[in-house]
């Protein structure tokens, strides 16, 4: 019975006799056992005017630096950003899913005119992703990503609330904080960001902090690149 629970035995699962309940018998029941094309750390920081994310633009193919201009920070709707490390195809699937939801929201909105509260705020996206990731984990077929969601919360009356920065990992663990890093960044960048973080950081300071952290990552992470992407969300300008 332990074979069913072993992620490493993905091949074994496929070669077992078909499960009586096989709803997906046609798709040969394959599970994600290891990531193939991977992105490394994503860093996020809350500052005075909003939230800023940073990541390098590398997707590695094992130890090969295969895609050197991959965008690992994506805009979901005018007020929400996500960034993802881990399996890039899963990240693209998640981005597509969230954008599809945003489109549906826009098309089925009560009013044709843009109004606050029509689109999902970052906190709602974060909660939705938790459900998605946890659901996949329970089927022992996770989306192999560690995601960061950046944007704002929404107040009860629909107006934009406080800046929001949250993370969701591949097994559905959620975490919200002023400073979040995924992957190697958790070991190298988080100590630096925590030491220097203040609630009233300006945009320039926040950016400099993120760039310093990414520089250290380039020194010490074998799968990092010295080309980076930075994105921010503010109340006035959105993403």
């Amino acid at each position: 019975m332990s074979a069913a629970l072993s992620l490493a035995a993905g091949g074994a699962a496929a070669s077992r006799a078909p499960h009586p309940n096989a709803a997906n018998a046609a798709s040969a029941s394959q599970r994600t056992t290891r990531p193939i094309v991977t992105g490394t750390s994503v860093l996020g920081i809350r500052y005075r005017d909003g939230v800023m994310l940073a990541a390098d633009t590398l997707c590695s193919y094992g130890s090969m630096a295969k895609y050197k201009d991959a965008r690992r920070l994506q805009k979901i709707n005018p007020k929400t950003l996500i960034g993802g490390g881990g399996e890039y195809s899963d990240f693209q699937a998640i981005t597509e899913l969230l954008r599809r939801n945003a489109l549906e929201d826009r098309c089925t909105a009560d009013s044709l005119y843009e109004e606050d509260g029509a689109e999902e705020c970052a906190r709602e996206v974060w909660n939705y992703l938790r459900a998605v990731m946890y659901n996949r984990r329970n089927k022992m077929n996770p989306l192999w990503n560690h995601l960061i969601v950046a944007g704002f919360s929404q107040n009860a009356d629909g107006s934009t609330g406080a800046p929001f920065l949250g993370s969701v990992d591949k097994i559905g663990t959620t975490y919200e904080d002023d400073v979040i890093s995924t992957g190697f960044g958790a070991y190298l960048a988080t100590p630096l960001l925590r030491e220097k973080w203040r609630a009233d950081l300006e945009e320039g300071e926040a950016r400099a902090l993120l760039e310093d952290a990414l520089r250290v990552l380039f020194y010490r992470d074998c799968r990092a690149l010295n080309r980076i992407q930075i994105a921010k969300v503010t109340k006035e300008d959105g993403v």
């Binding site: 070991y187 190298l188 988080t190 030491e195 250290v216």
Partner: protein, 308 residues
């Protein structure tokens, strides 16, 4: 059993046994047996036991640890935290991880506490004997490095000691990092232990060539504090050791103590009801009765001589 008696050339072996050379794999078989027994008893007991501590095996006391060393203009600065862990329990809140090797050479140790302690003691005594035999006033850091790496390689990584070796000799200030399997690197700054990444991120953003002593000590303290607060295997205080090219050394044990519990303990308000002075309750009458031990006293004992 008779087939295993020693052959005619055995007497030569006795002399060799006292000074073994080459690899010694005596304990490999024993370790494998212990693992088997642990698995057997571990699966028999609750399945919830973690794989790293299956009940039977006691976990080695490791030092978790953040240790660092850097070279500055006039010497080296070594730093270490002070937490020793046994599994996920803190075994020692204030252990000493900066070990003496020579008056001008000190060594920080991460990994199994006993291994780092005894390995450095061993090499320290070897260096002292070498100083006596060679008539040298001062040991060289590279000597310590070579002795350590030769010993660690001989044990093929089973001696789990990851070391940051630092000191000053005739050739200037040096920092070496030594891994349990015996590889070494000579570097201007280095970190080791579970908190090494947290500390290294501080070093990478802060280290420059030719720093002053104040800058060096400050950077080391910040690096260890990054490990103390961001790594669960490191904690408590920061120890700093400065060794200068002019021959002086300063050991600052407890240079930073951000986790001092004394203020917390002092803040506990113990109720006066629990600590009453003698005489709080008035004594009305007192009576003393000597205790009887089963009814026998010395007066009851008769001494008779033994019959031989």
């Amino acid at each position: 059993m008779s087939e295993f008696t020693k052959g005619p050339g055995a007497s030569g072996l006795d002399a060799a046994a006292s000074a073994p050379s080459g690899f010694s794999f005596e304990n490999v078989h024993r370790n494998a047996m212990i693992e088997e027994m642990a698995k057997a008893s571990g699966s028999a007991s609750a399945a919830a036991g973690s794989s790293s501590n299956p009940g039977y095996l006691p976990s080695a006391t490791k030092t978790g640890t953040t240790i660092v060393g850097l070279v500055y203009k006039d010497g080296v600065v070594l730093g270490a935290d002070t937490r020793a862990t046994g599994g996920s329990e803190v075994a020692d809140k204030n252990c000493e991880k900066i070990h003496y090797l020579a008056p001008n050479i000190y060594c920080c140790g991460a990994g199994t506490a006993a291994d780092t302690e005894k390995t450095t003691e061993n090499i320290s005594s070897q260096m002292e004997l070498l100083r006596m035999n060679m008539g040298d006033a001062q040991s060289r850091v590279v000597t310590a490095c070579t002795l350590l790496k030769r010993m660690l390689f001989r044990y093929q990584g089973y001696v789990s000691a990851a070391l940051v070796l630092g000191g000053c000799d005739v050739n200037g200030p040096h920092i070496y990092q030594i891994y349990p399997h015996g590889s070494t690197a000579k570097l201007p700054y280095t970190t080791m232990g579970s908190g090494s990444l947290a500390a290294m991120s501080v070093f990478e953003t802060g280290w420059t060539e030719d720093m002053s002593e104040e800058e060096g000590v400050e950077l080391v303290k910040r690096a260890i504090l990054a490990g103390v607060f961001n790594d669960l295997g490191s904690g408590s205080n920061v120890d700093v050791c400065v060794i200068r090219t002019d021959g002086t050394m300063t050991m600052d044990r407890g240079a930073v103590t951000p986790n001092d519990v004394k203020p917390l303990r002092d803040a506990i308000r113990r109720s006066d009801l629990l600590t009453m002075k003698a005489g709080t309750t008035a004594v009305l009458k007192s009576e003393f009765t000597p205790a009887k031990r089963g009814g026998v006293t010395l007066a009851d004992v008769t001494v008779t001589a033994m019959e031989t």
